[in-house]
């Protein structure tokens, strides 16, 4: 098993990940060389529109990709708590003993739709305790006590009574809280949340986000938050990766991304959202829509208003780094350097 030395502070490092899907008529390259890093206790956001590959990236980490998906390259280095070494998750079998240990035990995931993520025919409490029984040597009674404690911690009132409820007896917000409780059951070191509040109402969203931030702090977790909602990103994470069509086009500290975006896509995206603080007026528009094919070169060139030249259509630009770890891939800042496709 390969172990590499990286920054002691890193818990997850995705290097040049490539994932494609085989469809009957064609192959879709969903993720095209994504690199990202999550530090211990850090909260990292991955933001992008539908089809940008953000969910595929997170599912690749947990080795939960669909059967027709193929990892074409890259590494997913994760620091395993047992020996504090970085291991490549792609070197494990997706259904082997290591991944079974990691999934739920070391990396936990919160999904968008808590109604479908939970089983409707099992009691909520049993589903939470099952995770503990699967991963640890606790007794059923201990697990049950801990489940009640966790449910209380995530703000489920009268947890002792509600532990034997089924999911249909829970409201959407409560289900998402129960999901957080289940995610925490085995003391993971990394929490991946894929659109955790998208299906929820705005007041419930605020509560769930606050809950995620609180448990992250209390349990010392690293967080990878995947969302399309720039508001949620701004309110929650420290560091942001902006994805477009399977590529990270820009990444940096959250303040830098919002105050001083560099990539034309990030700039346009931020301008196109009606701000709660803004007044009436025309919204800035990104022309066209996300194409359903992968353009050559920089994938954004079909919609970009600041195309530099032919290189935008043929090559993927090298990264330009601004201060404080703010990196951008755009020929505007680096006219000549890029990879030939």
């Amino acid at each position: 098993m390969e172990a590499t030395k990286t920054d002691q502070n890193t818990i997850l490092e995705i290097q040049d990940l490539k994932v494609s899907f085989t469809l009957p008529e064609r192959t879709v390259n969903a993720v095209n060389g994504v690199s990202l890093r999550v530090g211990q206790r850090q909260s990292v956001g991955v933001v992008g529109e539908s089809g940008c590959g953000k969910s595929v990236t997170s599912l690749a980490v947990l080795r939960l990709l669909a059967r027709n998906a193929r990892v074409d390259g890259g590494r997913i280095m994760f620091r395993r708590p047992q020996d504090n070494q970085m291991r490549d998750l792609l070197s494990y079998k997706s259904n082997g003993p290591e991944m079974r240990e990691i999934r739920g035990g070391e990396i936990a995931m919160i999904f968008q739709e808590p109604m479908t993520a939970f089983s409707p025919v099992h009691r909520i409490g049993d589903q939470i305790t099952d995770v503990m029984l699967l991963h640890g040597e606790t007794s059923r009674e201990e697990a049950r006590t801990r489940a009640i404690t966790l449910m209380k911690q995530v703000g489920i009132t009268s947890a002792a009574d509600r532990i034997d409820d089924y999911t249909f007896q829970f409201s959407g917000g409560m289900r998402q809280r129960a999901m957080i409780a289940m995610a925490l059951a085995c003391n993971p070191s990394l929490l991946i949340a894929d659109e955790p509040t998208t299906a929820l109402d705005v007041t419930i969203q605020a509560q769930v986000i606050e809950q995620i931030k609180r448990v992250q702090d209390e349990f010392g977790l690293a967080l990878m938050l995947i969302t399309h909602d720039l508001g949620v990103i701004a309110q929650t994470v420290d560091y942001v990766y902006v994805m477009y069509l399977g590529r990270v086009v820009e990444h940096g500290p959250v303040e830098a991304i919002f105050a001083d975006p560099k990539h034309p896509y990030t700039i346009d995206l931020l301008r196109s959202i009606p701000r709660a603080t803004g007044r009436r007026g025309r919204l800035n528009v990104i022309r066209g829509s996300v194409p359903n094919y992968l353009p050559s070169g920089c994938p954004f060139h079909t919609r970009c208003t600041r195309v530099v030249g032919d290189q935008c259509m043929t090559r993927w630009p090298a990264e330009t780094t601004f201060d404080a770890g703010h990196g951008v891939r755009c020929f505007l800042y680096n006219r000549d350097h890029g990879d030939t496709e």
Partner: protein
């Protein structure tokens, strides 16, 4: 709509003498005490046991050529209200006075079939999900022309209209022969808008028209809706849960909670200085897309549960940080409340005049 100062105010009635116009305001829609109660819990051989009061005494006015927003969380009755306006449901009670042209007025709530048929020429709906609202087996031309065909237009006549509508919503006329699957979400919503405009309606009810779309495409559709309003003199009833969007597009807004309007007024005033504690909570939970204004702790408590609406007292009392015992005893009417800064607001809170609530721009 601006703030009026009437002395006489009766429950459920919104003051008509508002100073928005020297004369009587030109309302395209006047909804009074609208109710929609659904029976649930019944089975084949069982009597229905419960009544869900999805809309329970809602009153508001929509002025001609304005955009009126209905906001609130799921289950608050905003979609039911929209459907009642189009009479997709038979209301349990109340009236919906609709005036397609100045001086002409009919009650949609009680209009007989024949009259309703002709009234529907003047109003149309745009739905949330353009993947569900467009029949995949119909071409764009068939989809857009359907309301025209239903009204007896011949192809020679409607073809031209379809071309006109396509260019109006920014689509190429050559798309008419294609099927919906060939289009992106944003383009599909443009088709849905073109269909809504086919009969040249005065009123368009848009229920979450952009929430199924990508962020970058939402802006295109919002701009299109605003352009069409200016060009065609449309009135919109705009339903959305995204408060930033509502603030951007609406002139007036009504905030709904468990089937009732808790507060209504000019959008900007209401967002800056809410009068109802629920509006404050709703505004406080908007994730502001700016990390410089990160919220420390939200003031949000509890959830909107239909079961919590006991019918006695304020239905928001159990979540309200300002609730007192009398809030659980008195049913708060929607009435104009004078506020400490000299303004007034239509709100359903018995403590509204004492409270000084925080709006959106607080600290920003």
């Amino acid at each position: 709509m601006s703030i009026g100062n009437t002395a006489t105010e009766s429950r459920g009635a919104i003051d008509q003498s508002a100073s928005r116009d020297a004369a009587r305001p030109d309302n395209i829609l006047s909804v009074r005490d609208l109710k929609m109660h659904f029976s649930t819990g019944g089975g084949l051989f069982r009597r229905s046991t419960q009544t869900v009061k999805a809309v329970d005494g809602v009153s508001f006015d929509v002025e001609r050529r304005e955009t009126f927003g209905l906001v609130g969380e799921s289950g608050c009755g905003k979609t039911t209200t929209a459907r009642l306006i189009l009479r997709a449901y038979e209301p349990t009670g109340g009236s919906i006075m609709f005036s397609p042209q100045r001086g002409v007025e009919s009650d949609l709530a009680t209009a007989p079939r024949g009259e309703l048929w002709s009234l529907r020429d003047h109003m149309h709906m745009v739905f949330q999900d353009p993947y569900a609202s467009l029949n995949p087996r119909m071409t764009v031309e068939q989809l857009i022309a359907e309301p025209l065909i239903v009204r007896g237009w011949r192809r020679s006549r409607y073809r031209e209209r379809v071309t006109e509508l396509l260019s109006l919503v920014g689509l190429d006329a050559t798309y008419a022969e294609r099927y919906p699957h060939a289009f992106s979400g944003g383009q599909r919503q443009r088709i849905a808008i073109a269909r809504a405009l086919a009969l040249n309606p005065a009123l368009v009810v848009a229920d979450e028209p952009v929430s199924a779309l990508d962020v970058s495409v939402q802006a295109q559709i919002i701009n299109l809706l605003e352009d069409l309003q200016t060009e065609l003199g449309l009135t919109y009833v705009f339903i959305a849960h995204d408060l930033s969007l509502v603030r951007h597009i609406t002139d007036n807004v009504a905030v709904m909670y468990l089937g009732r309007i808790v507060e209504t007024g000019p959008t900007e005033e209401l967002f800056l200085r809410p009068a109802h504690p629920y509006t404050e909570m709703l505004l406080a939970s908007v994730p502001v897309p700016d990390p410089a204004f990160r919220k420390s702790r939200t003031v949000v408590r509890g959830e909107a549960l239909q079961s919590a609406a006991t019918g006695i007292g304020c239905s928001f009392a159990d979540r309200c940080p300002f609730a007192q015992d009398r809030c659980r005893e008195i049913d708060p009417p929607l009435e104009r409340v004078e506020r400490s800064d000299g303004t007034s607001r239509l709100t359903a809170c018995i403590r509204a005049s004492e409270l000084d609530l925080v709006g959106l721009d607080a600290g920003q």
